[in-house]
């Protein structure tokens, strides 16, 4: 079964999904790729963002994307605080590889259980005018439920990319894992810089979470399902590369969509992870890696 129309639809769906994947992975690219902090709890923070969007939407009818933007500073502070704890407990003692990883594993569980205790395990969704619409031209359709998050994702990427490449602090974040000494010589405190970077990383989770709940219904443990995906993208991207993350997200999205359309959806996730395993085995530095 093949038609040009189906192919175009599959590509559109893949691109839109890929943009969302990339948005979800952006925070990890910063924390894992640039700061060398393996935050396995990142998807849990995203789910936290989803629930905040849900809460504001169901209580006051607030738009989920607006909520996401409003909560970026709050998440930033949470992230900065979490890094402080992480630094004092693990990084300073050069002990992040094993125990730091276990720490985030525990944090993931705690966030998840806390959400269950407050909201229960029911699936939650949000209401917004752009959910359920779509633009059609001939047999080609673009669902706004996917298109709006895609645009927000691109905007978020642009903002983070500009910050990282145009400002002193942004460049310092990119440099901090490579050359602490040079940073110190330039008068920047590496710990403060990493705190800033991790804050940004968690900050993106607020918005990514809002995008997530626009696209799918969310329950507290749904974040686990995305651990693999976000790490896959971060690695495929070449750690720390922000444009690479976008490209890797799109590749994964398109691959899943094509496989799902033409070969049967049950193989979609395996193909995506196949790409990851292949990337790890043959090009561990990733697409945009150094």
């Amino acid at each position: 079964m093949f038609s040009v129309e189906l192919l175009v639809n599959a590509l559109i769906a893949g691109v839109l999904l890929g943009g969302f994947y990339a948005a979800v992975s952006l925070g990890l690219t910063v924390s894992f790729g640039q700061l060398n902090i393996v935050n396995i709890a990142h998807p849990a923070f995203i789910i936290l963002g989803s629930y905040i969007a849900y809460m504001c939407n169901s209580l006051w009818g607030l738009d989920p994307i607006l909520t996401g933007i409003i909560f970026i500073p709050v998440f930033f502070l949470i992230g900065a605080g979490a890094y402080r704890l992480y630094y004092e407990s693990f990084e300073r003692k050069d002990d992040e590889a094993l125990r730091g990883l276990a720490f985030f594993f525990g944090v993931m569980f705690i966030i998840e259980v806390a959400l269950i205790m407050v909201y229960g395990v029911d699936f939650r969704t949000v209401q917004a005018s752009y959910i359920g619409q779509s633009w059609k031209a001939g047999g080609i359709g673009v669902p706004t439920r996917m298109f709006v998050p895609f645009c927000v994702a691109i905007a978020m990427f642009t903002a983070v990319y500009l910050y990282m490449s145009r400002t002193f602090n942004g460049r310092a974040i990119k440099a901090v894992a490579q050359d602490r000494l040079a940073l110190q010589l330039m008068g920047a405190d590496p710990v403060k810089i990493k705190q800033l970077g991790f804050g940004i990383s968690i900050g993106t989770a607020a918005l990514a979470g809002a995008l997530l709940i626009i696209i799918i219904p969310v329950e507290p443990s749904v974040g686990r399902l995305y651990i693999g995906q976000v790490f896959a993208i971060a690695v495929l991207a070449g750690l720390g590369s922000i444009p690479g993350t976008l490209v890797a997200g799109l590749i994964l999205g398109i691959a899943e969509s094509l496989v799902s359309t033409f070969f049967g959806p049950s193989w979609a996730p395996a193909v995506a992870f196949g790409i990851l395993l292949a990337a790890l085995a043959f090009r561990p530095q990733g697409l945009f890696g150094r």
């Binding site: 079964m1 038609s3 129309e5 189906l6 639809n9 599959a10 769906a13 893949g14 839109l16 999904l17 969302f20 269950i116 909201y119 229960g120 395990v121 029911d122 699936f123 939650r124 969704t125 209401q127 959910i131 359920g132 619409q133 779509s134 059609k136 359709g141 669902p143 706004t144 439920r145 996917m146 696209i215 799918i216 219904p217 329950e219 443990s221 749904v222 399902l225 899943e256 969509s257 094509l258 799902s260 359309t261 033409f262 049967g264 959806p265 049950s266 979609a268 996730p269």
Partner: protein, 424 residues
Amino acid sequence: MLMKSKHKLSRRGWLKRSLAMAIVAGAVALTAPAQANDTIKIGFSMALTGGLAGAGKGALIAMQVWAEDTNAAGGLLGKQVELVYYDDQTNPANVPGIYTKLLDVDDVDFVVSGYGTNLIAPAMPIVMQRGLVFPSLFGLAVNEKFNYPNYFQIMPAGPEPLTDWSKGFYSVAMAQDPPPKTIALVGADAEFAKNAVKGARIQAEELGLEIVYDESYHPKTPDFTPIVNAIQARNPDMVFVGSYPPDSVGMVKAATEVGLKTKIFGGGMVGLQFASIMTALGPKLNGIVNYDFWVPEPTLKFEGVEAFLAKYQKAAEGQGVDPLGYYLQPYAYAYLQVLGQAITATNSADHAVIGEYIRNNSFDTVVGNVSFAPNGEWAKTRVLMVQYQGIEDNELATFTKAGTRVVLYPEEWKSGTVNYPYAE
């Protein structure tokens, strides 16, 4: 090396300590709650955390309502009823331990199952070994392999759960003129959905329908647009979906966005019966034909069901569970009703006697009159096919009204007529 010998000493010490700790902890586990012989204890495991907790918690509230009702009416065999339950965390590995604890430590008089096939099956060897009556809650074809005579399943799937499940879907479609010729089958890669699609496939083949699409998808699929596009490209007359709550939502959203054109759409979508999902989807549900177990239609107002729902809805407030409680909850009440009625009728606590009685009698419950086939399923299927009709908003109250989910099948309970086709 010098230090090593020191290690050896302390290591030996730790081993002793850890053993001691294990023994102490074991002893704690053994300590049974105070024994009391003036109650009838009914034990079960229930998913109160994990993936099925939404349903599990709702079922538990319904069961507690039954216990209160029963005790208010004087209990069973002159004794008060006490429910003893533990959280299985939606993890089958916890179930065998829980049931042995219930039977050996808590000395319960009866056990009933937890919610869902995965969590029922692990208890089977234990209850079979002891010859216990085992009322079960929403297991799909569990007894097919065990062939246990004292297994009684309350979900109204019927004696052939695989095909009975989707019978109504075909029955409604094939009655149309002209009847549909092609069908697309799609389902999640997980236990229930696979079975539902399997049953649908068997019947499609029997009816001579051409299956133009037959695929399963990973349960965590985030976007269903590609799947719906692929289905649409085949232009099927019917689309049968076997899905779980998150993917049911995704599928409905994608179908409305893509503008899925087919004559009948739905079938085995779990989740569309839940209040939270119905209010989230609202008008997008219109036209979907899907299975259900109970809806507030005039044909289904069985004795006691409204009183039960009123109590349930009051108890459910603020518990984070389904506020309406139409789907599973009456059945959770009913499977205890069956057990209770059998105990009272036989005036016995002997499992063999009670099992014999349940096999040979029918029971009036809040879900209607129930009798069991030899394999422990309902003697006759009552999987409802309902169609969502005339939904204009996302308010909870909308779904409490008759006419929003019209019963199309079985004929006996029919409450309206089908809007056909779904979309053209």
